[in-house]
């Protein structure tokens, strides 16, 4: 057999290096390697975290850090968010959290559910908290299955086996505090100082406050919050301050004040309104269909082809409603359609219009005019966006 150096000797002898050959200009300089990029620990407000569901390889979901203002290089980095994963963002702590599921042999073997803690500047893992029981809820991305409480010191994670419960995790202490059974209820909306609200199958909600060990301190049910048969609410809400704004399949808007220990549905009966040209009618449609801006306007993604079963198809317009007046203030036409929307917190806010099959377009939220398209340069299947707050 050959000596250890054969293979590289051939390669080495094949190339001659010199510092300059022709008269002018001097050659381009050598470039240092290895070289790895990092990000600002504090992201600008034009940035967002976008969840890439990656339907063709669900085991390999991601979260992408995106500069929505840079069509040449919008993708700033990729964080692993494996297997129907979820993402949370704590800018003040310079951390991103992902809730993930792994198998020891990719698709089979031992299951591990874990929260991974990522550094915003390096996008490297700072550690993980393993979750017990292999029961983390796996769904197409909903914000409501992974949420902060207790001033971002804790997170709450939905479980579904299909028994429903919530695991309480102390991020700062890197440990699991406990689990709360929630039969018949789904999704988590932070409520009060150290609690959450969940929506239940009979149309009620239940608000729970936790003690300092993460156990239930109080629980209160509010009936008749939604009519799941006739006016079901989309699962993901838009937040204006401490009020979560939901929209129904038919366009009714329901605010729920989550400031206190018990959620308080607002009495105002608001609607996205109607318009000509629907066939049969305009309805909200898409995945993340409602968003809010810093001024307190609501944006709802609308389809003119609204009917039973159309609620996830995606829309062609965004309707802007001022919940303070109940008036619709604007209609924004989306040239490429969208399945999810979000609004940046920039001084001049922008609308992020995402399609589940990849393309992402950016609009001026105030004027509704297209700013630029980011094409499919970011994610395979963008589901939800978390703009930098």
């Amino acid at each position: 057999m050959r000596s250890a150096t054969v293979m590289f000797a051939v390669a080495l002898s094949a190339i001659t290096l010199a510092s300059g050959v022709k008269a002018a200009p001097p050659p381009l300089p050598e470039e240092p390697i290895p070289s790895e990029a990092s990000l600002p620990a504090d992201y600008p407000q034009g940035w967002a975290l976008i969840q890439d569901f990656n339907f063709n390889s669900l085991v390999d979901g991601r979260t992408v850090v995106v500069d929505t203002g840079n069509p040449a290089q919008p993708l700033k980095g990729i964080i692993r968010t494996a297997q129907f994963g979820n993402t949370l963002f704590a800018p003040a702590k310079h951390e991103i959290y992902t809730a993930e599921t792994f198998f020891s042999r990719l698709t089979q073997g031992e299951r591990t559910d874990a929260i991974t803690i990522w550094d915003t500047a390096t996008l490297k893992s700072k550690g993980e908290i393993v979750l017990p029981g292999g029961k983390r809820q796996q769904s197409v991305t909903y914000a409501g299955t992974f949420q902060f409480t207790n001033g971002q010191k804790w997170v709450l994670i939905s479980n579904f086996t299909p028994a429903q419960s919530v695991t309480v995790v102390d991020l700062d202490g890197r440990k699991v505090l406990g689990e709360i059974d929630l039969p018949g209820c789904a999704h988590i909306y932070p409520t009060g100082d150290r609690g959450f609200t969940t929506l239940c199958a009979d149309g009620s909600l239940t608000s729970i406050q936790l003690d300092d060990k993460g156990a239930v301190a109080s629980s209160k049910t509010v009936a008749n919050v939604q009519d799941i048969d006739k006016q079901p609410l989309f699962g993901d809400a838009a937040w204006i301050g401490k009020t979560a704004w939901f929209v129904s399949y038919h366009g009714q808007l329901q605010g729920i004040d989550m400031a206190g220990a018990v959620a308080r549905p607002l009495a105002a009966k608001l609607s996205v309104g109607t318009a000509e040209g629907g066939a049969p009618e305009w309805r909200p449609s898409g995945w993340q269909v409602i968003a809010a801006d810093a001024k307190g306007l609501l944006y709802v993604l609308m389809s003119p082809a609204g009917k039973e079963g159309s609620h996830k198809d995606g829309g062609t317009e965004v309707w802007v409603i001022d919940p303070a007046t109940g008036k619709r203030t604007q209609r924004i036409a989306l040239s490429g359609g969208a399945t999810s929307i979000a609004i940046t917190r920039e001084a001049a806010p922008r609308l992020i219009a995402m399609r589940l099959d990849g393309p992402i377009d950016i609009f001026d939220a105030a004027t509704g005019k297209p700013v630029h398209s980011l094409g499919t340069t970011i994610a395979f299947n963008p589901t939800v966006a978390i703009p930098v707050p």
């Binding site: 086996t161 028994a163 079963g309």
Partner: protein
Amino acid sequence: MAGFDKLTEKLARGLARGTSRRSSLAWIGGIATGAAILPVLPVSRAMAAPHSAGHNRPPITSGNPQDPGDRSQCDYWRYCAIDGFLCSCCGGTVNTCPPGTEMSPITWIGTCTNPADGRAYVISYNDCCGVSSCGQCLCNRNEGDRPQVRPQSNNDYNWCLNTQSSVYNCSAAAIVGVAVEK
């Protein structure tokens, strides 16, 4: 929780076997009667496009005139509340999981109208589990789909539950009964 798991599994299986109680709510009536077959939706079509460009898959049919349609297409009548890759395109059939996968015993339910006999059938959508995403014939239709607070009517869950692995491969659609509006 184990006791509850068993209970819900029993309920789900009971439902799938067609032994449930005879009563109904308004919402299911609205779906079960007079609901035309939805066209393939723009976004679903766009998602499916990269995998079928420039090629027309020959139709996969039942051979039974009472069960018409192409089982590789989203607009096949049974798929009225499906979300995922069609097992017919993945090595399985309309109601059978592909080799190597395990069928989830817990499912979500749709009620789809068969255009041949006008009946509303209860369809059990069973996810096939333990092999990675099939990647073929992605469909998402939502007739009767309701938010996650009503799990049996929601197709956003990964229903690979109580299987050895929760990794999702494709979704099958089996007839488990005929729905009647009372």
